[in-house]
Point group: C2
């Protein structure tokens, strides 16, 4: 598909205009723009051709033109000039990383919030997978005779905790011994391998030292059953209400259902990891509820081969250029910020 320069210009202006106004753009209004020195008739002819190529559409016979999905795709692939962010935007972003926040979850959550606030779209951030994190320390804190809290701290500072029932017949000394064994055996073990190692290596060892070791193993193995899905952090879930394309409450509901369930979104965002910026436009999402939205995902690597990803969900009529710049900047900052957590400068 070869377009003349004039066609490129016209296509670009139409899409830019539509992104701003959400209104079909007509030949006459275009011809009035100062960077368009052609008459409306000429533009009409070009529009006709662009429509034949499938880049534009009409909402009805005599309406102005609207970009088609293919049009957006072309725009994104060929027309997008990586527009630099405004100073104001940059400084706002820096503010997330300015005060030294000390928890990963915090940084991630705040990134999501800023991202949605700056774009007015919905943002989704997935922190680095912590299944690969290694156990730093295991603690058991008895609460009373029947129950105790098990705590696992990873090398990234992530804390998992779970209450469990103390198997009968276990005395405080047993627990103390158990903690010692667990720390000896499990320190340095990645979370994913925890259950496995528990049953294979630790079990044997506990057998020798602890009465009722099987009950204890059982109780503990459950604790280590860490949820498979990492948590998605959302920002501006409600922002879609501000988009005219979702004035229809039923459409909004359908969209919200997909967002809230996370089932569909999670793999999409997860699989981005490591492959730069990805853009899914409208029906490319393969989901009825997402047919009028675009999903832009970016991933950010952190030290140690891990990576997280962030995404923006907005109407297909989205400020692609701005969103991409934002994602680029923020993903780099996140890389830097989170890498400090993953930097394993053990003693």
């Amino acid at each position: 598909m070869m377009l003349t320069d004039r066609q490129l210009l016209i296509l670009q202006v139409i899409i830019d205009d539509f992104i701003r106004s959400a209104q079909p753009v007509g030949s006459r209004s275009l011809s009035k723009k100062e960077n368009i020195p052609f008459s409306s008739a000429t533009i009409r002819n070009e529009m006709y051709d662009l429509e034949e190529m499938g880049l534009l559409e009409k909402t009805h016979t005599s309406s102005g033109r609207v970009p088609s999905e293919k049009g957006y795709r072309f725009y994104v692939d060929h027309l997008l000039s990586p527009q630099a962010l405004k100073k104001k935007d940059m400084s706002q972003i820096q503010s997330i990383f300015a005060d030294r926040i000390l928890e990963i979850e915090n940084v991630v959550q705040r990134s999501a919030e800023i991202l949605s606030q700056m774009t007015n779209y919905t943002s989704i951030v997935l922190g680095p997978d912590h299944h690969e994190n290694k156990v730093k320390s295991v603690q058991i804190i008895p609460l009373n005779l029947e129950s105790a809290i098990a705590i696992i701290v990873t090398d990234t500072g992530h804390v998992e905790n779970k209450r469990f029932t103390i198997p009968p017949g276990l005395n405080p000394e047993d627990i103390e011994r158990m903690v010692k064994i667990l720390n000896d055996k499990l320190t340095g073990t990645p979370l994913v391998e925890l259950q496995d190692k528990m049953y294979k290596e630790v079990a044997l060892f506990l057998k020798r030292h602890i009465a009722n070791y099987d009950l204890m193993i059982e109780a503990f193995a459950q604790i280590m059953n860490i949820p498979v899905h990492d948590k998605l952090f959302f920002g501006g879930k409600m922002n879609m209400m501000n988009q005219p394309e979702f004035n229809d409450i039923d459409k909004l509901r359908m969209l919200m259902d997909v967002i809230d369930s996370e089932d569909y979104l999670y793999p999409l965002i997860k699989e981005t990891s490591g492959s730069g910026i990805q853009i899914r436009i409208g029906k490319e999402n393969n989901n009825e509820a997402l047919k009028d939205v675009s999903l832009i995902t970016a991933s950010f690597p952190v030290i140690g081969g891990q990576s997280g990803s962030l995404a923006i969900l907005g109407p297909t009529r989205m400020e692609y250029s701005r969103v991409i710049s934002l994602l680029n900047v923020i993903s780099m900052d996140l890389s830097k910020a989170l890498s400090t957590f993953y930097d394993r400068d053990d003693k």
Copy 2:
């Protein structure tokens, strides 16, 4: 205000009808009901009187009647027969408490979900204030040379953790000693008094044993700065979209803003604690965005003088009777379930 039996009957039926259909109810359709043996003309006369008393309203001159806020208030105060829950409902509720869940947050979150799912309204649950919880154990887990995780476990099994920067010049032995001191001095201290005690009692003691104790105190005091607001747990935030009164996206947005910010809702729900079921209808909420919704709150005591509360937010046209029954049942169950956590049967 004295109503005849017939007026009571008619008011009741009108409100019940409107709650179901969300449509103004007219005299003719009422007269057709089998438990209403009066002609439409008679009903019209009664309606006229009820309207004069301010219990009913018309949406326009020749429309059917709709309950006024005063009408709902009367209905709630005098007409509501505490209708027993259906078996199906009861068994669904039991299912929350059936599998022995071991974390407070879990129970609370699931209650909120079930509540919203069963009512199709939005539910809000506030767990018992844990500011009064007592420290059970303090742990410090060094991650590397610069940072460490501080963990505080309370007697209810609540775990707070925070990363902090290790003041320079502090060696592992210092930390170990510090943990011992903190546990000695702070065990049994309610969370609210933590900071105070830290500065007053613990500081003196640390001074004697730890180098750079002032930096350490500073770092640690920050950690103990536990958020003032307990977390609200929501269920079915989106359910309001299903209510015809919120077909208007602007109204929906206003409502969602109030819900999401939590500022307004928190004190309302918090202050319920200990005073049974409270019902706020429409403008009684004193908030423009909440003028078309009712908020029903209930509190549930747990052992040790604590209490939590749960709330349902729905349109003023709400199934009051059902919601109240549900809240009653669930608050009792929550009382029971959470009391086991607060039961301080220490060794």
